[in-house]
């Protein structure tokens, strides 16, 4: 009966599903019973029924037996752990940090890059750069989008902060002015009320708003009475018509949407460019859409200069990439860093387990002699590894949570729906997967080694075998390799961060207070009332005890995401090296004095010059250098595009705006100082923090209705601005330190273990006349050879990885060869100290006693 042979072979194959212990004991009996049952089943039908019974039997008994053996092996592992608590604690700690950091960073990557946006078919949503469709009027825009060859729909958006009134207290909130089809284009339905009607984006009809779910809860406690209520943005009344679903806060944490994109009632045309978001037509490929877009963009930008076009090429990118953009690369590099950490932890734990397995060679040999198969021994060790990894991953979840809290602070998610969380199916699956993978990785070597013990079945094959030593040395070398990559990277980043910290910022940070103000919608909004408001506020602040000087500016240093720019000439001559527009900064009198007296030549603006809007300017050093020397610039005339000539009255040190802009700065009198982002700056004696509330009260006393926000010391602003680079560099330095620690422990452990295992051999050598010093030198040489073996690929890896560091901290140059050399020397020195420490015992070795002991 040919079927019987096939059936039997298949059943025998299926028996592999059972755990090793059960299989060893009962495989033969199971096979015998199967044969008996097979011979009782004559005919096709009976055979089919037999197989149904067999599969049911397997599905019940395999999990039961597996669970029993896992439980038994786990109990055995726990007994072993109790005997070596320090080893176990160290292994769990190292793995918990590795697994936890990976899970934490993965949850960031997951939120930014993998989790879908809360929109319909989000993969088809795009945004463009350096391309604005015809949007002079609603009709123009809607005609354009309806005729598009590659877009199914598109919406125009301008967004920024406004003063929210009509509620219990005045506040600054983020508002988006959109075209009427914004919500329908994204595929977002309001939870209550409605989205904008067709044509509601035309002037006269657009005084309506959709509010965010959070704002609805905050202001109306989730009541339906919100619909039809009036809310004021910059003083303009808006009727609430709908509430967006929870988690909807696109673009940029918006809480209020109005269909006024074409009227621009709230976001000034001058201050912001509009953005536009589109949805690709169904069926069109990315390549086709890109091609169609480029053709259109080329047509639109034909009037721009070629140089400008090369510098700012129009681009179409996916909305998800746009949102993840600024932090995408950084997150991926962090991910690479934590993967290295996990690999180092794994090789360290593998090394540790290897030593322990070698110690247990006798136990394993005895079990093998008693009939335990190679598979049974390997299964035991693998269960131990999995258990270790499981415990570590539970502890790792705490580390992951901590990691998320840290990342959230420095690299907040762009949308509410992208909040980082470990309570996400994909993240938890990742955690389980890397735990199991790690267990396989670090459990594999000892497990294979156990197989060898089985083969030899004697103690002679145990710890002292050259094979075991070579495996351990290879593990240490791998650790050294990974450590060098991290160490060189962290040195490079650390240096860049140090430079960033010590950049000349053009102002004195200590003793400086900043406070932002918005006059939009208040009684001080008209141009002619802005300056009097500021003069009054500054006069009150200057009267406060401890205040030395106060002034105001439209663009605060460190904070300018948007700024004014203009082409510039001096006395009709273009600059030597024109790269971009100069940055224009309107300021009030005493600004430079308040910021820290950085006037190099000339003077700053007088009250009269500001109030009369005189044609005078203060330029920075970079401007002056473009045309000659700083001293020469005074008294000359500059022009911004086609403006009338402006007289240069002072040259100052440039200020650090942390913007990707031309370092040429031109300061102008702020005649109407609330056109952009006005902030008051105050120079105080002593600790600036002590004066914060006093300054806040003084400004507020002028008019409590004017929103005052961001009342902080300049030091706090600098901390905020440097938080992200600081996080990246400290994280990488922490990783590197952790890696060095693990590597050194690995080397120390390997050598110290070798010394213990080879005591007899050393005793013989000493008896034959070798000195302890020479023996230690030999071991030192072996230790350093291991370091060298890891250093070569490590340096190559470090040089390769260096090019990605710049996306973490601007100015982080790629890893240099000298950095690599220093890293290798550092590890070699520490390793040498470790080896020397581990071999101290040799000097104290009593030859007679050692030889007698064996």
């Amino acid at each position: 009966m040919p079927d019987a042979g096939v059936s039997f072979r298949f059943y025998r194959w299926l028996l592999r599903l059972y755990p090793a212990g059960f299989r060893e004991n009962y495989a033969a009996s199971l096979e015998r019973q199967f044969l008996d049952e097979l011979s009782d089943s004559s005919g096709r039908f009976a055979l089919v029924m037999l197989w149904i019974r067999i599969f049911r039997d397997l599905s019940i008994s395999v999990p039961v037996q597996a669970a029993r053996e896992v439980m038994r092996d786990s109990r055995h592992a726990l007994r072993l752990w109790r005997r070596r608590p320090l080893h176990t604690g160290f292994a769990i700690g190292a793995l918990a940090i590795g697994i936890g950091a990976n899970t934490g960073v993965f949850s960031v990557v997951n939120a930014l890059l993998l989790r879908s946006l809360p929109f319909r078919d989000p993969d088809r949503l795009i945004v463009t750069h350096i391309f604005i469709p015809p949007s002079g009027s609603a009709k123009q825009f809607h005609d354009w989008r309806q005729q598009s060859s590659y877009l199914e729909d598109a919406a125009i958006i301008a967004h920024g902060d406004v003063n929210l009134g009509g509620t219990r207290e005045s506040a600054r909130v983020h508002l988006a002015e959109t075209s009427w089809n914004f919500f329908s284009m994204l595929g977002v339905q309001p939870v209550t009320g409605r989205a904008f009607f067709r044509d509601e984006d035309t002037p006269g009809k657009n005084a309506v708003a959709v509010i965010s779910y959070g704002l609805w809860q905050q202001l109306f406690a989730g009541s339906r009475s919100a619909l039809g209520a009036t809310i004021r943005a910059n003083g303009t009344p808006l009727m609430i018509i709908g509430v967006a679903p929870p988690g909807m806060d696109y673009p940029g944490k918006t809480v209020l949407w109005t269909p006024s994109a074409f009227a621009r009632d709230f976001i000034p045309h001058t201050a912001f460019l509009a953005e536009f978001t589109g949805r690709l037509k169904p069926g069109i490929t990315w390549a086709q859409a890109s091609e169609a877009f480029m053709v259109e963009a080329d047509r639109q930008s034909a009037k721009h200069s070629k140089a400008n076009r090369a510098k700012y090429p129009p681009r179409m990118i996916r909305l998800q990439d746009e949102l993840a953009g600024p932090v995408k690369m950084a997150s991926l590099i962090l991910m690479a860093g934590v993967v290295l950490i996990l690999l180092i932890a794994c090789s360290n734990v593998a090394n540790l387990l290897m030593a322990r397995t070698a110690d247990r060679a006798t136990e394993l040999s005895i079990r093998s002699a008693l009939g335990a198969s190679r598979a049974r021994l390997s299964q035991q060790l693998l269960t131990e590894s999995l258990l270790l990894s499981l415990v570590a991953s539970v502890a790792g979840l705490l580390v992951a949570h901590g990691t998320i809290l840290l990342v959230e602070k420095v690299q907040p998610a762009p949308l509410g729906s992208q909040a980082y969380s470990i309570l996400d199916g994909r993240v938890l699956l990742f955690c389980v997967a890397i735990s199991v993978l790690s267990a396989l990785l670090f459990g594999m070597v000892p497990s294979l080694y156990a197989g060898r013990v089985h083969n030899f079945g004697t103690r002679s094959s145990s710890a002292m075998s050259p094979g075991s030593r070579r495996i351990r040395e290879a593990l240490v070398a791998a650790q050294v390799m990974l450590t060098i990559v991290l160490l060189a990277g962290s040195v490079s980043l650390g240096r860049a961060f140090f430079n960033l910290m010590h950049t000349e910022r053009g102002f004195n940070t200590p003793g400086l207070i900043t406070a932002s103000i918005s006059l939009d919608g208040s009684m001080h909004q008209p141009y002619d009332r802005q300056l009097p408001y500021f003069e009054q506020a500054l006069a009150r602040v200057r009267r406060l005890p401890g205040v030395r000087q106060a002034s105001a500016t439209e663009f605060l240093p460190l904070d300018a995401t948007v700024f004014l720019g203009a082409p510039y000439t001096m006395d009709g001559a273009a600059p030597k090296d024109f790269r971009d527009f100069a940055m224009l900064v309107p300021v009030l009198p005493h600004y430079f004095e308040t910021m820290g007296d950085r006037i190099l030549h000339g003077r700053e603006f007088t009250d009269q010059e500001v109030s009369s809007n005189a044609s005078v300017a203060v330029v920075n050093e970079q401007f002056a250098n473009e045309f000659g020397t700083a001293r020469d610039a005074i008294g000359h005339q500059l022009r911004l595009g086609n403006t009338p000539p402006i007289k240069i009255i002072g040259v100052v040190k440039g200020m650090d705006y942390m913007a990707d802009a031309n370092p040429v700065q031109i300061f102008l009198p702020a005649h109407s100082p609330s056109s952009y982002f006005p902030s008051i700056v105050v120079r105080v004696d002593g600790d600036a923090k002590d004066h914060l509330s006093m300054v806040r009260d003084a400004i507020r006393s002028v008019d409590p209705q004017v929103p005052l926000f961001g009342v902080k010391t300049m030091e706090q602003r600098l901390d905020d601005a440097l938080a992200r680079p600081k996080f990246y560099s400290t994280t990488l330095i922490f990783f590197a330190a952790f890696a060095v620690l693990l590597a050194v422990m690995g080397i120390y452990g390997a050598v110290s273990y070798a010394v213990t295992q080879r005591t007899h051999e050393m005793g013989v050598r000493l008896a034959l006349g070798t000195t302890a010093g020479r023996l230690r030198s030999v071991l030192l040489g072996q230790g350093l050879a291991t370091v060298a073996a890891g250093a070569v690929p490590g340096v190559a890896g470090a040089l390769l990885s260096g090019r990605y560091l710049e996306s973490l901290i601007a100015g982080a140059r790629s890893v240099s060869v000298s950095t690599c050399v220093v890293s290798v020397m550092f590890i070699a020195a520490i390793a040498a100290a470790g080896v020397w420490g581990a071999t101290r015992r040799i000097a104290r070795l009593d030859i007679m006693e050692t030889l007698r002991a064996d």
Binding site: S29, Q33, D36, V62
Partner: protein, 121 residues
Amino acid sequence: MPSKDRSDFPDVTHLSPVVFHILLSLGEGERHGYALKREIALRTGGKLKLGPGVLYGSINKMLEQGLIEESDERPDAHLDDERRRYYRITPRGRKMAQAEAARMRDLVQLAAARFGVARHA
């Protein structure tokens, strides 16, 4: 006393139907696995058909609990297959089976007192 017997083996009372049936079969004499399976199927009218995995899983557990043991006695060489293993009940297994039977009897008596005895047609 049944209650006393049960308190001697608190960990394994009550016995699962499979274990009880195996003990019942071995109470009669030594058996190999497949013989046990057939006898149990016969006794239960085909309701309890033990697959190889479940049967040897139970045997494994019973060996660990000391309810049964492997027998060294083997049939004549021409009747034997070395892959077959023979089992017999231990004194502990016998006691357990008795305790289980007593427990069942108590339960049956209680049920009869409460519900009466059903008459079979």
